[in-house]
Symmetry: C2
Subunit: 178 residues, 2 copies
DNA sequence: TGATATCGTCTGTAGCACAGATGATTTCGT
DNA sequence: ACGAAATCATCTGTGCTACAGACGATATCA
């Protein structure tokens, strides 16, 4: 419905500078705005889960990838280990996942989803998908698919995908201090 | 960066992408991952500014749009008013912006960038642009442009497009349930 | 066996957002 | 013109969250 025209129009009182600079609002603003909206919608869709979208991501990874350790799980999502501890605590409390002793390494706890956890995840997945589709309502359907693919590939490019250490390194590297 | 895979054609019929490379990362993961990377890179590019990317966004809006009040500025970026106060404090302290009494409404402070502020912003803009381009290095150049456009249009769609009041309304509206 | 590294947890600290109250000023109603 | 209500920016206090560091438990290596 919105016109496919290059979306930047001068604001109210004489601000053509933005248009002159090229992209009207910039990648920064778009990313932030979109993520903010996404956050509120997904939070609403996952309100039955602890920790909102954060926990949703964790549960999702646990079910689909089941990393061997909590640390690996945390690194996968760019979360601190200590955070992962109480994040999983709340999930155990709700009976969505379990901590199992890894017989091969008794230091490690293997995080596995319960049947209930998987069932809940399936339900939330549906609602999240709906929320995401709603989020992209500004785009025509075929552009949504395209956008998803581009986004995923861009994300894959920066996380180096097959090198999990890359994620860890970048996540734990201090911002060069000053 | 390896192969600039075809984006436009693959997307058009169905969604084979998910099956192709690791399933279910989904829009959620992509968005989060991309934003995390973006955040670290932009933070690095804006380390000379207070408040990191947050302040960068503010300075940017101040220079280009110069909203009449702090509240309007805050609403524009989805930031709380009280946060905006000390955020601007730090910018005033660095001599990047000034608070000027609005003669028409003496309650309001008009936030204007100093010459120094504009100069610094210009420098940072260049570095941020480079960081953003680097962020999209996983996409072939023509797809980057496309991605930017789609992203911006999607973001515009959720922010009520040309109705700035919509942003305010949504920002202050409670999650409205479900 | 002892030294060192890893895993998960716990503790303390710092930063940040948000609600509410406050003082200053404008606008509206009568 | 006068007072009530709204608005702007600020300040204060509270709660949540992340992160650094220390700690036991276990594994690995010399």
């Amino acid at each position: 419905m919105p016109t496919p025209t290059p979306a930047h129009q001068a604001a109210q009182d004489g601000a053509p500078a933005a248009a002159a600079a090229g992209p009207s609002l910039g990648l920064s603003w778009s990313l932030v705005a979109l993520l903010r909206e996404w956050s509120t919608r997904v939070d609403a869709a996952t309100e039955e889960l602890p920790q909102g979208m954060r926990g949703y991501q964790v549960l999702r990874v646990v079910v689909h990838d089941s990393p061997p350790t909590q640390a690996a799980l945390a690194a996968r999502l760019g979360i601190d280990r200590t955070v992962m501890t109480y994040l999983i605590d709340s999930y155990v409390e709700c009976g969505l996942v379990e901590r199992q002793q890894d017989p091969a390494d008794r230091r490690a706890r293997r995080i596995v989803a319960t049947a209930h956890g998987r069932k809940v995840l399936a339900g939330v997945d549906v609602r999240v998908a709906a929320a995401e589709e709603d989020l992209l309502s500004g785009l025509p359907p075929e552009d949504r698919v395209l956008f998803r693919e581009l986004l995923e590939r861009a994300a894959r490019g920066v996380t180096q995908d097959d090198d999990p250490c890359g994620v860890v390194a970048r996540a734990t590297t201090p911002p060069d201090g000053r």
